[in-house]
C-alpha cells in the first residue's frame, strides 16, 4: 500500500475513532462512575476506578423501588406493544383486503397522526385522561401511547399485507373461511417479521417515554423507570455515583435488547427509508 492510499485510510480511521470516543466516552464514564466514591469522582471522573466500590450498584439492585419502576415500565411497554399490534394490524388488514366506501378517507384520517407532534395536545390529553377516570393508572399511559403509535404501525402493516399473495385468500375463501378468521389463521402467522419490527419500535418508544407518564402518573407506586430516575436524581443531588449506578443499570438491558433486536430495528429503518 503506497502513501497515496495509506493517508485516506488513516484519516478515515481517525474520524471513526474520534466519533467512537464521542459516543462511548460519556457511557463508560457513567458505568465507571457508579463504582467510584464521591471523593474519587471529583479527582478522577473519567478514568478506570482506582478502587472498585460495588456498594452503589448493590444498593440499587437491593432497592425494591428500583425493581418496581422497572416492573411498571415492563408491564406498560408489553401491554402497549400487544394492543398496538392487534389494533393496528386489524385496521391495516381491513384497508389492505377489503374495498369499501370511505376507506381512503379513514386511512387519511388515521395517517394524519404522523404529522403532528405528540406534545401539541398534551394538556387536553391530560384533561381527557382525567375525565375518563384513568389518571394515575397503567391505562393512562398505555391507551394514549397506543393511539399515537397507530399511524405509523398501520402504514407499515398495510404495506406488508398488500405484498402477501392474493391467491391464498381466494383459496381459503372457497373453503368457507371468512375475513376475520383468515386474519387470525393466515395473515398474522405470515407476518411475523413486520410484527417483530413494529413491536420492537413500539417497545423502545414506550420503555423510554417520559413526557406522557410525567403528565398522567402521580403516585410513586406507579412510576415508570424514567420518572423514578429523575426522582432519584433529585433526592441524591450531591451523590452522583448513586445516580450513575442507577443509569448504568438501565443502560445495560437497553444495550442487550438492542443487540438482540438490531435486525428488526434496521429493517424498520430501511423500510421507512425506501418508502420516502
Amino acid at each position: 500500500m503506497n502513501a497515496f492510499r495509506f493517508l485516506p485510510a488513516l484519516g478515515k480511521a481517525a474520524v471513526l475513532l474520534v466519533f467512537t470516543g464521542f459516543v462511548l466516552g460519556p457511557l463508560t464514564v457513567a458505568v465507571f462512575g457508579g463504582f467510584k466514591t464521591n471523593g474519587e469522582l471529583r479527582v478522577n471522573p473519567f478514568g478506570i476506578p482506582q478502587q472498585w466500590d460495588f456498594e452503589f450498584y448493590a444498593a440499587m439492585l437491593g432497592d425494591p423501588a428500583f425493581w418496581r419502576y422497572m416492573g411498571n415500565s415492563l408491564i406498560i411497554s408489553l401491554l402497549t406493544v400487544f394492543l398496538t399490534l392487534i389494533v393496528s394490524a386489524a385496521a391495516a388488514y381491513v384497508f389492505a383486503q377489503i374495498r369499501f366506501l370511505g376507506s381512503r378517507m379513514m386511512q387519511a384520517y388515521l395517517l394524519a397522526g404522523l404529522v403532528f407532534p405528540f406534545a401539541t395536545a398534551i394538556l387536553p390529553l391530560f384533561i381527557k385522561v382525567r375525565d375518563l377516570g384513568l389518571l394515575d393508572s397503567y391505562w393512562a399511559v398505555i391507551l394514549p401511547q397506543t393511539a399515537f403509535g397507530l399511524s405509523l404501525s398501520i402504514m407499515l402493516f398495510k404495506t406488508f399485507f398488500e405484498q402477501l399473495p392474493k391467491d391464498l385468500f381466494e383459496a381459503a375463501h372457497v373453503e368457507g373461511c371468512g375475513y376475520v378468521r383468515f386474519f387470525w389463521q393466515f395473515t398474522l402467522p405470515l407476518s411475523t417479521p413486520i410484527l417483530a419490527t413494529v413491536g420492537v419500535f413500539v417497545f423502545v418508544q414506550s420503555w423510554n417515554n417520559f413526557l406522557l407518564p410525567l403528565v398522567v402518573i402521580n403516585s410513586r407506586e406507579l412510576f415508570t423507570w424514567p420518572l423514578g430516575m429523575m426522582q432519584f436524581r433529585g433526592e441524591y443531588l450531591s451523590e452522583w455515583n448513586r445516580t450513575l449506578a442507577f443509569i448504568s443499570l438501565t443502560i445495560l438491558p437497553a444495550v442487550a435488547f438492542f443487540i438482540a433486536a438490531q435486525k428488526y430495528i434496521v429493517a424498520g429503518l430501511t423500510g421507512g427509508a425506501v418508502k420516502g
Binding site: 474520524v15 471513526l16 466519533f19 459516543v23 462511548l24 460519556p26 457511557l27 464514564v29 471529583r42 478522577n44 471522573p45 473519567f46 389494533v87 393496528s88 386489524a90 385496521a91 388488514y93 381491513v94 377489503i98 369499501f100 384520517y109 397522526g113 404529522v115 403532528f116 407532534p117 406534545a119 401539541t120 395536545a121 398534551i122 394538556l123 387536553p124 390529553l125 384533561i127 381527557k128 393511539a147 397507530l150 372457497v174 368457507g176 371468512g178 376475520v180 386474519f183 423502545v204 423510554n208 417520559f210 413526557l211 424514567p226 430516575m229 429523575m230 443509569i247 443502560i251 437497553a254 444495550v255 438492542f258 438490531q262 430495528i265 434496521v266 429503518l269 430501511t270 427509508a273 420516502g276
Partner: protein
C-alpha cells in the same frame, strides 16, 4: 357449498358473494372500530379540545367558562421567554439539519460498505438512539457538571477555572444541542447507510471508469441517488426538533433563568405545572400550526423535486 355448486352452477356465485359480503361486513365492524375509537379519543379529540381551550382562561377544573378570545395567544406572543423558546427550538432545528445531518452523511459514506469493522462502528454510532432521552440527559449533565464532571477535569487540566456550563446562560443551550447531536446522528446515519447500500454498484463502477474521483462520485452519483432518504431524514429532524423535551429536562429544566426552554418545555412549565390549561393549549395550537406548515412546505419541496 360444494353441493350447491354442483347442483346449480348458475346460483353459486351469488350465494358465495353474499357470504363474502356478510364476512366483509363483520370484518369491518369488528376490526376497524378499535383503531378509530382510540385514535379519535386520544389523538384527534384532544387536538380540537386544544383549539377550544385555548380561547379560555381555565385552570382545568370544572368546565371552561371564562372566555377571553385570543388573549392567551397575545400573552404568549408578548412573553420574552416564549420567544426565547422559539429561538432555541429554531437553533436545535438548524443544528440538526445543518450540522448533524452532514456529519451523519459523512459517516455513512465512510462505513456503508458491508465489512465486519463497519458493522461494529454502525452499532456503536446507533447506540445512543436506543437509550432513553432522560438517561442520556442525566449522563451528559454529569459530564458537564462543573464540580465533579468530566468538563471540570478538562478545565483543570487546561489550568482554567471550571465553568458550570449548564448554569451559564451563554453555554447551556449550546451544550443541549451537543447532546441532541450525540443522541440522534446515528439514527440519520442508518437511514443514509440503508439508502447508500441500495445504489447499484454498476453506477459507481461506471463513474469510476469515466475517471470520476471519490469526491465527484459522492457529489454527482451517491448523494443524488439517496435524495429521497435525505428528504426523510430532514423531515424526522424537523419534527423531532419541534418537540424536543425529554433531553432538556434532566440537563437544565429550562434554566438558568428560563434561557434554555424549547417550545414543549415552555408549554409544560408555563401551562401544565402552573395549571394554566388554556394558556398551554394556546402554545400547543401554535406548535401544531408550525408542524403542519413545515409538513406542507416539505410536501411541496418533495413534489417540486420529483417533477423537475
Amino acid at each position: 357449498m360444494k353441493m350447491t355448486e354442483l347442483a346449480a352452477p348458475g346460483l353459486a356465485p351469488s350465494i358465495r358473494s353474499r357470504g363474502r359480503f356478510t364476512s366483509q361486513t363483520s370484518a369491518l365492524l369488528l376490526m376497524l372500530p378499535p383503531a378509530l375509537v382510540l385514535f379519535t379519543l386520544f389523538v384527534a379529540l384532544p387536538l380540537f379540545d386544544a383549539a377550544y381551550y385555548s380561547l379560555f382562561k381555565w385552570d382545568g377544573y370544572g368546565t371552561p367558562t371564562d372566555f377571553i378570545g385570543l388573549d392567551n395567544f397575545k400573552q404568549a406572543l408578548g412573553h420574552a421567554v416564549f420567544w426565547q423558546a422559539v429561538r432555541n427550538t429554531l437553533i436545535v432545528l438548524a443544528v440538526s439539519v445543518f450540522v448533524q445531518l452532514p456529519i451523519a452523511l459523512g459517516l455513512a459514506l465512510l462505513i456503508y460498505e458491508k465489512t465486519p469493522a463497519n458493522t461494529l462502528f454502525r452499532l456503536i454510532f446507533f447506540l445512543p438512539f436506543i437509550l432513553a432521552e432522560v438517561a442520556s440527559g442525566l449522563i451528559w449533565s454529569f459530564v458537564f457538571d462543573g464540580n465533579t464532571g468530566v468538563a471540570a477535569a478538562l478545565f483543570h487540566a487546561l489550568g482554567m477555572e471550571p465553568v458550570f456550563i449548564l448554569a451559564d446562560r451563554h453555554w447551556a443551550f449550546a451544550a443541549i444541542t451537543l447532546v441532541v447531536v450525540w443522541k440522534y446522528f446515528g439514527f440519520h446515519m442508518m437511514i443514509y447507510i440503508a439508502a447508500l447500500q441500495g445504489v447499484p454498484k454498476e453506477m459507481l463502477e461506471a463513474a469510476r471508469l469515466e475517471g470520476a474521483g471519490r469526491w465527484a462520485i459522492v457529489r454527482h452519483v451517491q448523494v443524488p441517488m439517496i435524495a429521497s432518504a435525505i428528504g426523510v431524514s430532514v423531515f424526522f429532524s424537523i419534527v423531532g426538533s419541534l418537540q424536543l423535551f425529554d433531553v432538556v429536562i434532566p440537563l437544565t429544566n429550562g434554566g438558568p433563568s428560563n434561557s434554555t426552554h424549547t417550545i414543549v418545555t415552555y408549554l409544560y412549565t408555563f401551562g401544565l405545572t402552573r395549571t394554566r390549561i388554556g394558556f398551554g393549549s394556546a402554545v400547543g395550537v401554535m406548535l401544531f400550526v408550525a408542524a403542519v406548515a413545515f409538513a406542507v412546505l416539505y410536501q411541496r419541496q418533495i413534489s417540486k423535486g420529483s417533477r423537475s
